[in-house]
Structure formats: structure tokens, C-alpha cells
Symmetry: D2
Subunit: 345 residues, 4 copies
């Protein structure tokens, strides 16, 4: 079989670099182009020194990607920038997997409300498919534009989906207490990611208005077929990788731990990367992998449902699910190149 030719646009950030790490060992892929506007002309290993000695294309400007005739282009660019390239390449032959937030929401107005900027390519929303394979697998296979989901969203939605699809819980009762590693904030040094600020520390941030809130709500509402609102509170952990979402919800009627675990196992029985586990998930239990681990429980004393979902924000939360989406839209087995095991410890 001929290899799929892929390009990574924005290769020097964390998700771009993680795409390279995964795709380098993907058996059916050939990396034909890697781009960086600020570092064009340099070898990739000069920027990401861990890849010293590893063969990789020299970095080129974003605009030159088309010259390499890729089949699939990964956009690992910031939101607000990404949409310009989607617009520019709307007639191109290649498919696009956009890892930014630019096409994840239902409509340009919603985007403007949560991202506080105008969208330059509103028509894109009509074609974009939300790239969470566990929910939209068939649509992903045939789209030309995948909106790769947010890391907190994937964690939260995978944790909530069975409850939503089966309308088990009170739709306004959902609380998501999210905790993320620092790589979620990107490769750029900022005051709030300075080592002595994060290390030995812990705090909430972006309460009440984090942009993943609306993604969670839209996908939940889609599943529930009714409007859902969630309280989402992100916190910053002093670790590199990983998200744990602790989710609280009130059931509409009586339930039990056994019933809930059955519901989850059934719901995810065909999903290779969701593990419904029987102990509380940990960040290291999924580190470096495309797994999302989920544990569900019911507290009879208080009447609350508790869900714990964990994934690696750079893999299942970004680059890994992007490769999973690439497999789907390329007609490959969904797990190809994604079966590495957790790096623990």
C-alpha cells in the first residue's frame, strides 16, 4: 500500500512535536512536510533537540505546504491563526485536521461569544466534523475538515457520554472539576508557567468562562438532545502531562455502581481507546498513550454519581486523537500506530 503523505503545519509547538513523535513510527505514513514560519530553514532537531539524529524534513513556511502534495494536513496552530489557513486551503486536494479551537463549535456566533473575536471563515462550520471518534466516527471518515477536540472536552465528554446519551442525570446538575498538566498551556514560556510559579503549587484558573466549557455543553446537549449546562472549573497541576476530570451529577432516578459500570462498558464496547477501569484512574496510567481511562461510581449515602476520567492531554487530548482521526479518514484501522503503552513510572 502506498503511504499516506502528511504535513504538520506548526511543527515546533508541543502538539506539532507530539504529532511527529507519534507519526515517525506510524507504519503507513510518510511525513512530507513540516512547517514553522518563525523557524523556517532550520532542521527540526535544531528546534526540538530530543530529535537529534532522527531524519525529518527541513522546516518550511506554512504557505509552501501545498508544493509537497500531502494527503492530510495537520494544523497545529493557535486558534485565530488556524482558521486563516483552513480558509486559504478550502479548495485544496488534501484533508485537514485542525487541532485548534477554530471549528469546534456549532456556529460562528457561538465562537465569537466564547473566543471574543470574529471568525474569518464562517462557512467552514458547515463542513467541519467534531473529531471525537467515540461520538462521530462515521462522519469523520468522510469529512475534509476535522475539528480536533479540546483536551478538557475529550476528558469530560468521554466521562459523561453514557450518562448523557441515556439521559441518566439531571441536565443542570453537572459539575466538572478538571485538573491539567502544564503542557496544556503550550510551549511558550509565560509568567504563569514559570517553573517556580507552578512547582509545588496548585490553583484553579479560568473559572466560569474557560472555552472548553461550551464545547462540553454543545457535545453534551447533542447527546442528551436537550440543553445541558455544566460547571467547569480547571486547575493547574505541577506535572507535564495529563488531565483528570472529577465529575459529579445527580441521577434522575435511583441507580447503583453496578448498573452504571454496565452502562459504561456497554457504551464503549467498540472503542479501543476507552478503558472502563475498576480502580480510580491516574495520570501516569495513561501517560504517552491514546487511552482514556474512566471509572464510574455511585455514592448511596449522598445520592451522587461520581465519574473519574483521565487521559494524556498531548496524546488522546490532542496529537493522538488527531492521528486516530487521520486513520479514520484514510481508511486505516483506527488503532494503527497508536498502541504504545503507558510510560509508568
Amino acid at each position: 500500500m502506498e503511504k499516506i503523505k502528511i504535513a504538520i503545519v506548526g511543527a515546533t509547538g508541543y502538539t506539532g512535536s507530539e504529532l511527529f513523535r507519534i507519526l515517525y513510527n506510524h507504519p503507513d505514513v510518510s511525513i512530507v512536510a513540516m512547517t514553522s514560519n518563525s523557524q523556517a530553514g532550520k532542521s527540526f532537531a535544531d528546534v526540538q533537540k530530543q530529535f537529534s539524529g532522527i531524519p525529518a524534513p527541513v522546516l518550511i513556511p506554512h504557505d509552501e505546504v501545498q508544493q509537497y502534495h500531502p494527503d492530510v494536513v495537520f494544523l497545529a496552530l493557535p486558534h485565530g491563526i488556524s482558521m486563516k489557513y483552513v480558509q486559504q486551503w478550502q479548495e485544496a486536494a488534501f484533508k485537514i485536521i485542525d487541532l485548534s479551537g477554530d471549528f469546534r463549535l456549532s456556529a460562528p456566533e457561538v465562537y465569537t461569544r466564547w473566543y471574543h473575536k470574529e471568525h474569518c471563515f464562517p462557512e467552514g462550520f458547515r463542513h467541519a466534523v467534531y473529531g471525537l471518534p467515540e461520538l462521530h466516527r462515521e462522519a469523520i471518515k468522510t469529512t475534509k475538515l476535522v475539528a480536533n477536540p479540546g483536551c478538557f472536552t475529550s476528558t469530560s465528554i468521554l466521562g459523561l457520554a453514557p450518562l448523557m446519551a441515556h439521559q441518566v442525570v439531571v441536565p443542570q446538575s453537572i459539575i466538572i472539576d478538571g485538573k491539567t498538566g502544564v503542557t496544556g498551556a503550550g510551549a511558550q514560556a509565560k509568567p504563569n508557567t514559570h517553573f517556580p510559579v507552578v512547582n509545588e503549587n496548585f490553583t484553579a484558573y479560568g473559572i466560569k468562562n474557560h472555552r472548553h466549557t461550551i464545547e462540553i455543553e454543545e457535545q453534551s446537549s447533542f447527546l442528551y438532545q436537550k440543553e445541558v449546562r455544566v460547571q467547569f472549573t480547571p486547575h493547574l497541576l505541577p506535572v507535564d502531562r495529563g488531565i483528570l476530570a472529577t465529575i459529579y451529577a445527580r441521577p434522575l432516578s435511583g441507580t447503583s455502581q453496578a448498573a452504571l459500570q454496565d452502562l459504561y462498558r456497554e457504551f464503549y464496547k467498540n472503542d479501543s481507546f476507552v478503558r472502563v477501569v475498576n480502580t480510580l484512574p491516574t495520570l501516569k496510567g495513561v501517560r504517552g498513550t491514546n487511552f482514556c481511562d474512566i471509572y464510574v461510581d455511585f455514592d448511596e449515602r449522598t445520592g451522587n454519581i461520581l465519574v473519574f476520567a483521565a487521559l494524556d492531554n498531548l496524546v488522546k487530548g490532542a496529537a493522538g486523537v488527531a492521528v486516530q482521526n487521520m486513520n479514520l479518514l484514510s481508511g486505516l484501522p483506527e488503532t494503527t500506530g497508536l498502541l504504545s503503552l503507558p510510560l509508568q513510572p
Copy 2:
């Protein structure tokens, strides 16, 4: 003024060692005895090497404490052990500050239900005062037995107290998502505190049945004057010190951020160690201090009250509040010896 003679029983664990660290610079205290049954006869600095060169009493067995005629005895022993010494010393002249969980609850039966063991000294419950000064200051001043509160409890109750005392929230709506550093688990090496298990990791533990749950509920019910149930979910952070509690509650009627902040500022206006802050609290912002930082907010979109409370589990969560209690029952200004500032970074 003559110095208060104090003894630290169980000096070699984390809380015992932290008591020494604080009391060493307390201007009105003389440390007359420090005990350890397993290390008796050794110098304190042989066990806690950071105190090399610092004058301290040689370690003696617990039983010999009375020979040193202390005014106040701190019990820094595990629960189940502590009660035996409280019983043994019930007629002693000294006052006792018990840092274990043995006398924190309302009755022996409640103790047995949550600690899964019989209590050897049920009469102790009649005399014990719950040692959270912000709630029980006057009673602490005159008691002979202080039940020093649990670290998660102090964080949670200080975060909740204004809402409870003013009956602002639905009593069954409270969710406490707690996160603690590893020192909360004590100085003994265990599989779940092995460095590679905790480091770069994060997980929930003890869900549905952590012993601090009942402490939180009893103190909340006392304030609310009605039975309160809470969902309390502890998580283990890869840091040494600090607890952050993220608290969610539904108000009984409409409220606002401004109203809530006023309520909190008024409630704590006479409490030197509670800082009602105007940004999200952090662990390092209170590290090494006796402060509890609290931020309260209201999400108009969802209708939830959000409270964030942070303290150092070894200081305001254990040894610091114990010294605060000692100051109270010794007639000293409450803040004496407790004004060191946060070690940040």
C-alpha cells in the same frame, strides 16, 4: 512572664517535627520534653537531621512526660493510640491538645462507624472541644482537652462556614473536591507514597468514605443548625504541603459575588489567620504559614456558588492551629509565634 512548659508526645513524625519547628521560635514557650517510644534515648536531630545543631531535649518514652511537669502536652500520635494517653492522663494537671482524630467527633458511636474501631475512652467526648478557633474560640480557652481538627476539615469548614452559619445554601447540594499534598499521609514510607508513584501523577482516593467527611458534616450541621451532608472527594497532589478545597453549592435564593465576598469578610473580620482574598488562592501563597486563604465567587450562568480555600496542611491544618489553640488556652495573644510569612517560591 514565666514561660509555658510544653511537651511534644510523638515528636518524630511530621506533625511532631512541625510543632518543634514552630515552637522553637515561640517567645513564650519552653519545650521541656519530647517523646518517641521507638527512638527514645536518641537526640532529636539524629532522627530529624534538619535540626542538626539546634538545642532540643533528648527523646524520652511517652510515659515519662509527666516527670517534666508540662503545662500543655501536644499529642502528635496516630488515632487509636492517642486516646489511650488521653485516658491515662485524664487526671493530670496539664492540658492536652490532641492532634489525632480520636476526639473530634460528637460521640463514640459516630467514631466507631467511621473509624471502624471501639473507642477506649468514651467519657473524653464530653470534655473535648473541637479545636477550630474560628468557630469555637471561647470554648477552647477554658477546656483541658482540645481535639485539633483534621486538615481537610479545617480547609472545608473555613471555606463553608459563612454559607452555613447564614443558611445561604441548599444543605444537601455541597460538593467538596479536595486536593492535598503528600505529607498528609505521614512520615512513614508506604507503597502509595513511593516517589515514582506520586510524582508526575494525580488521582482521587478514599472516595465516599474519607474520615474527614463526618467531621465536615458535623461542624457544618452545628453551624447550619440542621443536618448537612457533603460529597467529599480527596485527591493526592505531587507536592509536599498544602490543601486546596474547591467547593460547589447551590444558593437557596439569588446572590452575587459582591454579596458573598461581603458576607465572608464580615464573618472573618476578627480572625487573624483567615484571609478573604480577591484572587484564586494557591498552595504556595500559604506555605509554611498559619493562614487559610479563601476566595468566593458566584457563577451567574450556572447559578452555583464557588469557594476556593487553601492552607498548609502541616501548619494551619495541624501544628500551627495546635499552637494557636495553645495560645488561646494559655491566655496569650492568638497570633504569638505564628506570624512567619509564606515561603514562596
Copy 3:
């Protein structure tokens, strides 16, 4: 081609678990048996929960390994235990890769001097080949017993080998300041690996008499063809994985950075896993991989040669080099199954 049947004896420790992680994705290997005397009968994922849902043999006692007719047996057992199984299986058909220290030294007397115990199988020393492929590749291909090297030794020797083989330095001038992550101490919780003891901390340990010292000296002397003594000082880093060795040596005659870098590049030109890099190596630059990164420099001001060598102690320092050795003695390309890239960040 038929798959190589391998067994992992002592599968539940860190190196056993890491062997599974690597071998699970090795294209030419079938894992036919995994053992644990203390956990026999359990599924592997019950002990190492990160492997939940991953197919693996049920754990069996060490003694039952032969029933599964492995081609290669990895011994991931503590020193002192390992030699008993090497002895017991000396007539077995399979080859053995012993990851303990039991057969790394030149003679039983040397073993006794540094390990303070008698060796039960002195004849084993005649057959064992020291498993550092960069030095002993041809011998490894034909042996039945590989003594897999110590993690500090591999780092130090790979950093020193070109200087030794070419007799560039004063043999008594060598100082190795080693720094290791905590996994080097094993999976068992101990007082000195308790999280609050290691975290935010740093200290030397085992100075003057660490057992890897003699390995370094014997391998150095072999290369130099003259007795070499080194000052080796290990330190404990608050990280999970990785070793960095900072090496100081005095040249016998004038040299330069360029000459040294050429020497190193030439020496390692056929070694896929040694990267002679041109910036200072980092632990994360090799994390999760079989690479050893080396930077060499010369300080004209002081006249000292400086070498910096880094590797992942669980991979190139243990399980990875063991698989590299397995490839060699099985006639496979040396890099098979070992090409995953660094997990950074």
C-alpha cells in the same frame, strides 16, 4: 519468520514492567511467560494497573518458566537471587539475559568484595558476557548468558570509552559525578524514596563504595589495557527516570574540543543508540528511549576534559539494552522494537 519466545522472570518490578512495555510492541517477539513468586496467579494488569485491558500471560512462579519453552529468558530479579536461577537453569535450552549485578564483574572474589556476599555459582563468570553492545557486540551474539550492565555503568562507560580506548587521559584522574532518578532504587517503597523525602530535595549517597564503581573500573581497565580507578559519586534527583553523568578527566597531552568530538563521532559511528550531540544533553531528551546522548568538551582555561552523558536508566540503562542484547543474540537487527522517540515534554 517464527517469533522469538521470551519469558520475563520477575515481571512486576520496574525493569520487568519496562521489559513488557517495550516487548509488547516488538514485532518479532512472543511473550510466553511472565513470573512473580509473590503475585503468581494474578493477571499482570492487577499488579501493574497501567496495563489494564492489555493482553498478557497470567503471572506464574519463576520455577514454571521452563514449561513454556522460551528461547530467551530475562531475569529481572534482585542480585543475590538471580544467580540461583542462572545456576538452576545452566543446562536449559534457553539463553539468559540477567539484569541483576550477579555476573557483571570479572571474578567471584571481586563480587564478594563489593557485594559483601558469597557467590553461589562461580562457574557462571566464565560464560557470562558483559552486555554493553557498544563494547562487546560480537561476544554477545554468541553467548548463552548476558550480564546486562548497571545503569550508572552504561552512562559512565559510554561517556568514557573513546578516552579509554585511545588512552587519551591520565588513568587516575577520572571523576564521575552521577545523578539518577528515583526508579533506579526499584519499585519497593523505602524511607529514602518516600515522596516528601525526595521531592524538592537533592543529595549525594553511597559515596566511595557504590557497586557500579567496580563495573566502571573493570570496563575502563579493559579498554585502557591498564588499571583505572575512578571517583564515582552518585546523587539522587527528584525525577522518575534518567541518569546524567558529568565526567572530568585530565588529558595526557594537549587536545581540543574539535579533536575530542571527532574522536567520539568516529568511535560511535556504527552505534545506532549513541548520539554524539552538540549541545549539553538532558534527561528528557532521552526519556523513554534507548538513546545515550553524549557531549564532550575541553576547557582550555583549566586543562580539563568534560564529558556529559545521559540515558534513561530503565531503558538504555536496563530493559532497553536488554532487548538490544536479545536482538543481537537472536540474529535480529539491533534496533528492532527500540525506535520509539523521546517523550518530551
Copy 4:
């Protein structure tokens, strides 16, 4: 006694903030001014939020300090900036403790060679006293300008001083392998202090030309009364605070551990903040304190002297020793306000 009026110029960086932390509880000091050119007009706690609720002067521009008639001014400014204020205030009534590197070296030419810039105030070198109390106590008491030492220098020199003063070692044999926490790099976020770059990582930096090298050499030469050259190699630890220097040297004639320990104990017998300890020092053993812990040993097998010295870079390595110097030049007991104990764990 009237309080000493002090000013902190450059209060918002790590050393400025640490000066405040220490001086706030100093019994004989009144903080009359705190400055920041970029944050002037703000309250200190708005910038360093851990000091929320703590009384402190409003931040003013550096230039306004004189209006507050301080007795002692601490300059916590970057090198290159600091010298301008020393020049500007050369006729002022107050004494200056400069925490930058601007006046630490012997002459302007040496400064220019290592700092790669011209010095604007060469005359300052004539008056400046190197502020390491253990070496220059008497001179500090009477100077108007203290050049507070570099953190690596204090660690190294305190570790070396007895060997130098007694000419025990070969002067060209000294190797200092230094390891520092991240706060040594300052409060400003930079690419190399981004959390995911430092965390779980370790690397050398600034090899062969770190500016503290010349400080170490000049102070060593002063003690030895002969020119000394050292190999100094700094490394970056994934911790906030603390420096450990591992020092290697060859003795001029035979020695022993006992002889060396006696030498060190005798040398430091009048120094309250140097602890000659009998186990290997750790970072946490001195965290938050003004102690420097030193362990000395002799390896009979190799003939090398080994010294391990540890201190907190922000306290004994910066703000603490600055306060110690202030005590000296103010006629106070040297330890006043500096007796807090290690924050461990």
C-alpha cells in the same frame, strides 16, 4: 533601641521579596521604603500575592528612596543596573548592601572580562567589601558598601575555605560540580525556566564560563595566598530552592576523614550559620534558613578529598546573608532575625 530604617530597592523580584519575608519578622528593623520602577504605585501584595493582608509600604520608584532616610539600603537589582545606583548614592548617608554581581570582583578589568561590559563606577571597587561574613566579618562591620556574594560562590567557598586557608590541597586540582534550584535564575519567565522544560529534567549549563567561577577563584586565591583555578560546572535541578556543591580536590599530603572534619569544625567554630554535619547534606535540610551545611570526607581508595556543601540560594545564598551583613554593619548580634528552622518536608 531605635529601629534600623531599611529600604529594599527592587522589591518585586525573588531576592527583594525574600528580603521582605525575612525582615518583616526582624525585631530591630523598620521597613521604610520598597521600590519597583515598573510597579511603582501598587501595593506590594498586588505584585507578590502571598503577602496579601500583610502591612508593607506602597511601591515607589528607586529614585525616591532617599526621601525616606533609610539607614541601610538593599539593592536587589540586576547586575549592570545596580552599579548605577551605587554610583548615584555614593555620597548618601545610608549604607548599601548590593546583592548584584557588580562589586564582587577585585577590579573593573576583571569585571569586564567576565561580565562582558564596562563598569560605570570603577572607584566603587576600592570601598566594596565582599560580603561573606565567615571570611570578612570585621571588614563588613565598618564598610559603607557590601558586595553580597553569589549563591554558588558562597556554597563553594564555604565548602573550600578550610582547605584553602590551610593550603591542604593542590591548588589546580579543584573541581566543583554545582547543582542549583530554579529560583537562581530569577522571577522572570524565560524559555529555559518554562515548567515543562525544567520539570523531570536535569542538565548542565554555563559550563566553562559561569560568572561565579571568578568569584570562587578570587576568594580562594585570597585564602590560599596563591593563584587558584577551579573547574566549576553548574547544573539545573527541578526544584525551587537550594544549591548543593560537590567538590573534589587532591591533598598535597596524606590526610584522613577525621583530620579533615576536625579542621572544618575548628575553622567554623565561631560561625553560627555553618553547620559541619556528620551525614551528607540535603537541600531540604537547609530550606528557608540561613544555614550552610558541610560534610567533608576522604576516599582512601582514590586519594581524593570530597566536600559536600548545601544552602538555600535565596537565604544564605542571597537575602539571608544580606540580613546577616546588615546585622554586622548595624552592630546587632549576627543571628538576629535569622533563626528560623528548615521547612522540611
